[in-house]
């Protein structure tokens, strides 16, 4: 229901960190923020293996990354009338299978929670200053280039 929660009432949690996070703790923390939550959408991005990839190294622009993610979270809260949302993005060297990013969106109803989750991860991939370098088992390293599909997904919202 649009307008039920003002942006000021909604909880917004943005973290950019090297250390791991706990999904259960983060969900509980978000749920504790409002009795109006009826559903919580979540996306957990992990390092995908294959073709000899052993790790990703993530670089970010300290200060700007937090700022851009906070701006994005505020936009999601307004647009989808969220009760709250959480974005945690890691940086540093992450091995195959390790979590990279967590997006949680809480709303009174599932449609807004799920739409907001997708909006946040689609926009985040090309709209926050993070860069990934792939590290392979033979020692090669290669910067990942932005993909047209990602740009299109972000522009589609």
């Amino acid at each position: 229901m649009a307008g039920l929660h003002s942006e000021a009432e909604a909880s917004l949690r943005v973290l950019v960190q090297e250390s791991p996070f706990d999904v259960g703790t983060e969900m509980a923390c978000l749920l504790a923020g409002s009795i109006h939550i009826g559903g919580l959408g979540s996306f957990l991005g992990v390092v995908r293996g294959g073709n000899g990839l052993v790790a990703l190294s993530l670089e970010h622009y300290p200060g700007m990354s937090e700022q851009m993610l906070t701006k994005l979270a505020s936009e999601a809260i307004r647009r989808f009338a969220l009760c709250g949302c959480t974005i945690i993005h890691r940086f540093g060297r992450l091995l195959v299978g390790e979590p990279v990013v967590l997006v949680l969106a809480a709303a009174p109803h599932r449609a807004d929670a799920l739409d907001a989750t997708r909006f946040l991860i689609d926009r985040l991939k090309t709209g926050a200053p993070f860069w990934k370098s792939e590290e392979f088992s033979d020692g090669r390293c290669r910067w990942i280039e932005s993909r047209v599909e990602d740009e299109e997904a972000a522009a589609g919202w």
């Binding site: 622009y61 700007m64 700022q67 990279v100 990013v101 200053p129 993070f130 910067w143 740009e151």
Partner: protein, 86 residues
């Protein structure tokens, strides 16, 4: 415009330029684009990097900007490739 700006390079751009930050004197230039052109005239590596393929994004004081953006003493200018988070 007098004064200096801090210039930052990230990711692939940082590796190609060979440094992550430098302080640049404005010497009368008014915009990001003019500052970069002046730097390229005096630095062959920088000129090669910026004339190479690939899109370059720019931020001024941690806000996305373009090459027409005005510069002031103390500004922080960042150059980086398209972002690939998530």
């Amino acid at each position: 415009m007098s004064g200096t700006v801090t210039v930052l390079y990230f990711a692939a751009l940082r590796e190609r330029v060979g440094r992550s930050r430098e302080v640049v004197s404005l010497d009368g230039v008014m915009t990001v684009g003019a500052m970069l052109m002046s730097r390229r005239d005096n630095d062959a590596v920088l000129d090669a990097v910026f004339s190479g393929p690939g899109t370059v994004r720019v931020a001024v004081n941690k806000i996305l900007a373009d090459f027409e953006a005005p510069l002031h003493d103390g500004d922080e200018v960042a150059f980086f490739p398209p972002m690939t988070g998530g």
